[in-house]
């Protein structure tokens, strides 16, 4: 059911992109051959039309498009003159690596910040709230430049441009992780505070549990569920950030490819990359949702009752 829902959303997204792209003025065959400036011959245009099915009725083009999607074909890039699926395959690993590292770093920072602010009393909570909020709104493009300025130009510890070795991923991953950590920490802190104010905490204390034990057995579990359920959203926001970060650090990946594709208006490539991003977001969402459910049986019960009602 949940997976079915995700597939439906993906289909709708593909449909929406297909029709949205028809809004682009001009002849797609012309665009394929390098835009109006390329002065393509009439024969070349006709050949491109026939090859890409631009001369077929819209519904047939749509069905062809869906059929190709099902087979994993995303069309041919105008600018790279290569199948989009191939381009995606080449660039996917870099972006995934970056996103995963950022996710891990963000969780570590967020957890540390949230724990410190909960343990440190009201003043710490205040300071943490300020840090979190500022971190959450920091734009990647600026944060990236400042980090380069500090650690690459200034201290010379790390390379400014992404290098293939492990050191090269540190600055890009940090740039992505810090704003996300701000968001996650805010959420986690509020969830922890909410959980700590629940009456069952009094019950636990009254039977002689220590603060640490109450935290481990009750509070953390209540706060962790919603935070884990957020991973899908976090992953989506990382995909957004990757567009900027990969550009700053000249790191190969889906994001940078997407930017250059938009710059040259390489429509099939843009569509392909966008759909891959949406699919990745949906997959992670489904997974994180399942994880949240596994952690909170009450949620399962509620959904079952909701499904019956």
């Amino acid at each position: 059911m949940r997976i079915g829902g995700a597939i439906l959303v993906l289909w709708a997204a593909a449909t929406a992109t297909f029709f949205a792209v028809r809004l682009i003025p001009g002849d797609p065959a012309q665009a394929f051959l390098g835009g109006p400036g390329s002065q393509a011959s009439a024969e070349a245009l006709a050949r491109v039309r026939a090859e890409n099915g631009f001369d077929l009725p819209l519904w047939q083009q749509y069905l062809d498009y869906l059929g190709r999607l099902l087979r994993g074909e995303l069309g041919t890039s105008y600018s790279l003159h290569a199948p989009v699926s191939e381009v995606v395959g080449e660039q996917l690993a870099g972006t995934l690596e970056l996103a995963l590292w950022s996710l891990v770093i963000a969780w570590v920072i967020a957890l540390g910040l949230a724990l410190w602010s909960v343990a440190g009393g009201p003043v710490a909570a205040r300071i943490a709230a300020g840090i979190e909020m500022t971190a959450a709104v920091l734009p990647h493009f600026w944060l990236g430049s400042v980090l380069i300025l500090l650690f690459a130009t200034g201290l010379g510890w790390l390379p400014a441009i992404a290098t293939p070795d492990a050191r090269g991923i540190i600055l890009p991953a940090l740039t992505l992780a810090i704003p996300l950590a701000g968001f996650l920490a805010q959420l986690l802190r509020e969830a922890l505070q909410d959980a700590a104010a629940q009456p069952f905490v009094l019950t636990a204390r009254a039977r002689g549990e220590s603060h640490a034990s109450v935290f481990a057995r009750h509070t953390l579990r209540h706060a962790a569920g919603p935070a884990i359920g957020l991973t899908g959203w976090a992953f989506g926001s990382l995909m957004s950030g990757a567009v900027v970060v990969e550009t700053i650090f000249a790191r190969p990946g889906l994001g940078r490819t997407l930017v250059s594709a938009v710059q040259v208006r390489d429509v099939p490539l843009v569509i392909g990359l966008t759909l891959v991003a949406a699919a990745a977001y949906l997959v992670v969402s489904v997974l994180s949702d399942l994880a949240e459910r596994a952690l909170n049986p009450a949620l399962r019960i509620r959904t079952e009752a909701g499904a019956g009602a």
Partner: protein
């Protein structure tokens, strides 16, 4: 009831030494003192009840025995001793052995007090881990034993269930089992029966009683004097951070020395005939609710005894003003005819109001049915329910939670469409009918609800709410309606100084008064009251009930009064209907139904309520 194995480890070196001794306990939050020097003493096998209204400081006092008064609390006492241990001298480690092991706390509200994510067995297991040396399998066996002992059927299945899967009564029992696991010699129970239905309440009280008989000391914290009847040996009445009266339960309950205690007792509608105001006596100072601004802050300023004269009317909160109005009218019965609030003098109980003899009912519901849900998961909420309502009379609708009484009210109000059945208003079709046809007559049926706050738009102030009601929604400007607003506030006993406030800045009783004022502004003939007093303290409840009665007489209203509380229904109703599982099991004149119930379920309900006193 199964006897409790080894309850109350022998804590007492001397048989005379009390389990708990408290002298001069003071608790402060910041600069506000909420408990101002109270004394308590509990011997093994003794039950002391600490009774007071919300905000009196009783819960925080009880929790301070465990060092759990709260993070911002400053606790001082001359003596605060559990058996021979000085609690104030304990550090965190010592407190942890005390908590659960020697003193058990059953917190308020079992639903919130148990972690919804953890099976109840885990909670019991944790107490056993902390306070015994039993191995895992022995703990499991002991947990089953405890669940059985507190009266939970099929412990093997229940031990794996989470609080959300248990009924309210079973939850409370499971909570008690998790506390008993530590075999505490002293048990503190904070409002253990409050949110429970009568029959469940009786079971819990029996359980606590058997623990006391087995030698456990019991500190029972409650807002309801009646609820402690039959179980408490000693009663201490608390108000504004002090114990104002203390003594053997029989003496305090039957012959209270203090005016405040008398009012607390009088506030209970149990056994008070229809039409007799509950609070006839003038209000002493101590009972006055401070003017509430958002959050009630316990104040120490008003601690003076009842001798000070009533403060200026402009500053008196509404809950008190009406009582004064009523008493003053009562003293001056000659002028009652012209007084808008004239109740019949208590000496002469009201004859049945003239309206009730009107043959044609104002509202008649016939065989209403409503089912919720869809496809294989259908829950019938109301089944073929019929009601008849006459002007000037009150029809009480009794039922336990989930019996469908609120759904029936919503059907009658035209907020839900019934699957079958009709409602006629004054002989004309009311339900089913198109909303456009109903709207011109909507003003004839008004309603008040259990949670009045939710029924006020938070953006509007008291005078805007009333202006809207008086102008039938045409304006929010109080300008043209000053007179009507003032009369409205006056009629429900709210001071005009509240006009500019938001509803969130009022106390619970004031909010319900405001919702009554709004309902009356539309000049209704019928007032549907859905659990209007169940969220209120007993004395506030008494004043709202007195107000409704007075207003009914003045305006000849027909009241549909819905409650789970038999005593309340019996006090306010001319006729009653008993509802269970969506069906009306029995209906008729109040005294007939209560005196000679025809239905088995009604009999059981009455027996449960009677049993605990």
């Amino acid at each position: 009831m199964t006897p409790f194995p080894s309850t109350g480890r022998s804590e007492t070196p001397h048989p005379t030494q009390p389990l708990l001794e408290v002298r001069g306990l003071r608790i402060r939050f910041g600069t506000t003192e909420v408990v101002s020097g109270i004394d308590l003493r509990i011997a093994p096998g003794e039950c002391v009840a600490l009774v007071g209204e919300s905000g009196s400081g009783k819960s925080v006092s009880a929790r301070s025995i465990l060092g759990l008064a709260g993070s911002g609390a400053r606790v001082d006492a001359e003596v605060l001793r559990v058996a021979d241990t000085n609690v104030l001298g304990l550090r965190e480690r010592g407190l942890r052995t005390l908590r659960g092991g020697r003193v058990g706390l059953i917190p308020q509200d079992a639903l919130g007090a148990l972690d919804p994510l953890r099976p109840i067995g885990h909670e019991i297991d944790r107490t056993l881990q902390l306070h015994t040396r039993l191995g895992a399998s022995a703990r499991h066996a002991r947990a089953l034993e405890l669940l059985h002992a507190v009266g939970i059927p099929e412990p093997e299945a229940r031990i794996r269930q989470r609080p959300g899967q248990l009924s309210g009564g079973l939850r409370q029992r499971a909570l008690i089992a998790s506390v008993l696991a530590g075999e505490p010699a002293l048990l503190i129970a904070d409002e253990p029966t409050t949110a429970l239905d009568a029959r469940v309440r009786r079971g819990i009280l029996e359980l606590l009683g058997s623990l006391r008989d087995a030698g456990t000391g019991l500190l029972l914290v409650s807002h309801d004097l009646d609820a402690v009847r039959g179980i408490a040996d000693t009663v201490a009445v608390m108000s504004e951070g002090r114990i104002i009266e203390r003594g053997p339960a029989a003496t305090v309950l039957e012959h209270p020395a203090e005016e405040y205690t008398r009012i607390l007792l009088a506030a209970s509608p149990a056994g008070v005939p229809r039409g007799v105001p509950l609070l006839a006596a003038p209000m002493p100072q101590a009972i006055q609710t401070p003017a509430v601004t958002g959050r009630t802050e316990p104040s120490t300023e008003r601690l003076g005894s009842g001798s000070t004269p009533a403060p200026d009317a402009a500053t008196v909160p509404g809950d008190v003003l009406l009582a004064d109005v009523i008493t003053s009218t009562r003293r001056d019965t000659g002028a009652a005819g012209s007084d808008p609030l004239a109740p019949t003098p208590p000496s002469a109980p009201a004859p049945a109001p003239a309206f009730s003899s009107t043959p044609a009912p104002i509202l008649e519901a016939r065989r209403l049915s409503k089912t919720f849900g869809a496809r294989g998961f259908r829950v019938p909420a109301v089944r073929e329910a019929s009601l008849t309502l006459h002007l000037g009379t009150t029809l009480g609708l009794i039922g336990e939670s989930g019996s469908g009484k609120s759904t029936l009210a919503r059907l009658i109000l035209g907020l839900e469409t019934p699957d079958a059945g009709t409602v006629e208003l004054d002989g004309r079709a009311w339900v089913p009918a198109p909303e456009s046809a109903r709207r011109p007559h909507r003003h004839r049926i008004a309603a008040i609800f259990q949670d009045p706050l939710a029924t006020f738009d938070p953006r509007l102030s008291v005078d805007q709410i009333l202006a809207d009601a008086h102008s039938h929604g045409r304006t929010l400007r109080a300008a043209g309606w000053q007179r009507a607003i003032a009369d409205s506030l006056d009629a429900v006993g709210l001071p005009s100084t509240l006009a500019g406030r938001g509803p969130r800045e009022l106390s619970g009783g004031q909010r319900q008064r405001l919702s009554i004022a709004r309902a009356l502004a539309q000049n209704p003939e019928i007032l549907v009251c859905d659990e209007p007093v169940s969220a209120l303290d007993l004395t506030v409840q008494a004043r709202v009930l007195d107000l409704l009665d007075a207003l009914q007489r003045e305006r000849g209203l027909a009241l549909l009064f819905i409650s789970h509380d038999l005593d309340v229904v019996r006090h306010v109703s001319d006729t009653v209907a008993v509802m269970k599982d969506g069906e009306i099991r029995e209906s008729g004149p109040t005294e007939r139904v209560f005196g000679n119930p025809g239905d088995e379920y009604t009999r059981a309900l009455l027996a449960d309520t009677a049993a605990h006193r």
